[in-house]
Symmetry: none
Subunit: 206 residues, 4 copies
DNA sequence: AATGAATGAGCATTCATTCAT
DNA sequence: TATGAATGAATGCTCATTCAT
């Protein structure tokens, strides 16, 4: 019989995930002692294992949780603007702000990449694709509206994602001495968006 | 008495570093057994410690070694073109090609960020600043030549670095299914450069 | 207050014991997870503890249950023959057949010895003595009838028991490659009984 | 690369095996904490793992070590007598004496059966077969000399082995209250050997 | 200088047992 | 009475680091 995993209490699950973000972010995956997560969550170590099966699943659960929060945050940001370009700008700002407000979440993203490359469970891949598709539609709307040059939407979304990811990771790396994550992301967005704007709307964009 | 570290034999040092790249890249920092590096380098475990002091120093030595190789690779690429914009483009292409040719080097960069955030020893920070300054000069030359809009050179270099970093990391993450690292980096460069080009030179750039 | 143990439902008790035989036989005493016994018995883990107090008591209950079954099986076999020697032969055959039919029961016997040496609760010791006495009477009847040499009945019964135990354990160990448990037991009985028969002239050997 | 196991120091190996016999015999396989073996052997826990790889291999090493000692002990006993029957008798006596002198060795045998049924590594199986063959030759010599009835030598050896095993295990189980292991084994031998002697007229029984 | 044997702190995971519902 | 969620002590195994040879 495979490992039994049940989550009878949503509050405990949240407490564990919240503690896990904190500890993983500080100590890394391998450097984390599950006991510390349990202590910080106020539950027994056995409970952590009952809820998540093993340390890796716990980490994946944590990473998914964070991705979910990011998705919600970005989704909120999108609705704050009407034009496609405005939505993209808002997304970039929200992306930077999200990780500036929660530096621990950024660590989870970095660890995810460092420890598990492409081994993420299907659920996370699907969520990622969903987000890509979502933004792809915005780009296509921008193209239809003449705000964005006719480009391959998926590639542009991947590039924008890469740029934002690189911006926040690198900005956080240089110890906040220079500019905030949000400023970095906005600067990256400026450069990025100006580049993909159609010639006709250059004037209004810059 | 502080830890005695000497490197009497350059060949051994190279062998250890080469082995370290391999093993760190595969297993991560914490997941790496120093014994495996010693075995692969064909030296005793004690020798690794004599040459590098401890595991963390060994990793830093490895990361510095890789950064050095990247620097040389990019420096070569720069000289292949005369115009500032050409140099930047060539740099982007070279950046992608470097990590496409040596995926292990990319892992070292990712691990560096994941495990040690900003704890890198001064030597590496200095080297990093040196590279930033180097490219800053190119940007300034581009501005002077009218190829690049009047921007803050340092910020632009940081943004370009972030973009390239994000591009290769994310491209490698999506399991090569989409495009090669080099293509990703070039695509990122296209968007990036087009955005910072002065209005006057748009035509020739696109 | 001492541990409260009640068995309100005989069906559940049987279900637990039956499951326990299965799991203990497969995994050994220490290797057994009480949860698995509960699952297999279709009851909650708490119920197992309510019925048996703790894991050791559960095992002893299981071993006693099996011993009881063996006793019944051998008692039936005895009644199938009239002569003392016939009864002993029948007992040997039945002994082998019992464990051949129920290999799990043999594991319980082996585990019992391995884990608890002589720590068995008085009830099992008494039951064991009762069986020894029972067979002792048959031996004495055989002696009285002139079928068996005048030997110490208890010692002979202990030896026969040891021989049968050794036979089935060793036979089961050699992976059935050679002969069945029943054949092994019969062979052992042949040698054993022939040896204790009166008529022969064993002068040269003692 | 598979687990590296080296045994650079024979004294340490002996110390570990000796400690392992002691601890396994007292606590059983699962109940044994490898740390205790290390402590008793006066080495670090890591050393135990360096020498034996894992707990199971350590147990197998221990069991083999004991089997080896038994083999030597029995081999010595054999040479003390000239006639085949004498050799078999001497073997039985030696078998009982071996385990009476070293009750811990008996526990190892019992645990071996309880935990690993037939999973023993090939080396131990081969050693076992070698011993069976050795005694088979003695039985055949006995048959040739007319001391033993014409029986299947291998089967007889297996039966004798089973009988002796059962005798010592059962004798030890009944807490030495009755007779010593040696006496039990001799008694078993008496019954066993008398039965396989040629001269008698067992017609009515067979 | 080079080696690799020895060490033991550290950590993931399991599971007997309890007890609130 | 029955349940199963929660717990934390227990234990196998790893690996960074040291140091005698």
């Amino acid at each position: 019989m495979t490992k039994t995993v049940t989550k009878p209490d949503v509050c405990k699950e949240e407490a564990i995930l919240s503690a896990a973000v904190h500890v993983f972010a500080r100590a890394g995956f391998r450097g984390t002692d599950v006991q510390e997560i349990a202590d910080r969550a106020g539950v027994g170590k056995g409970t952590v294992y009952r809820y998540f099966g093993d340390k890796q699943e716990l980490f994946w659960g944590t990473a998914f949780w964070v991705l979910d929060k990011l998705d919600q945050h970005l989704t909120n940001a999108i609705s704050a603007s009407d034009s496609p370009l405005g939505k993209l700008r808002a997304t970039c700002r929200a992306y930077g702000a999200f990780f500036e407000t929660n530096p621990e979440y950024l660590e989870i993203f970095v660890l995810d990449r460092a420890e598990f490359r492409g081994d993420a469970p299907p659920a996370r891949r699907e969520r990622h694709e969903k987000m890509i598709a979502e933004f792809g539609k915005i780009v296509e709307a921008g193209i239809a509206a003449g705000e964005i040059r006719p480009v391959d939407a998926r590639n542009v979304v991947l590039s924008l994602g890469s740029t934002l990811y690189g911006s926040v990771v690198c900005a956080a790396m240089t110890a906040a001495g220079d500019r905030s994550l949000t400023e970095m992301a906005e600067h990256a967005a400026d450069i990025f968006l100006t580049g993909i704007c159609a010639e006709s709307s250059k004037g209004s964009e810059q």
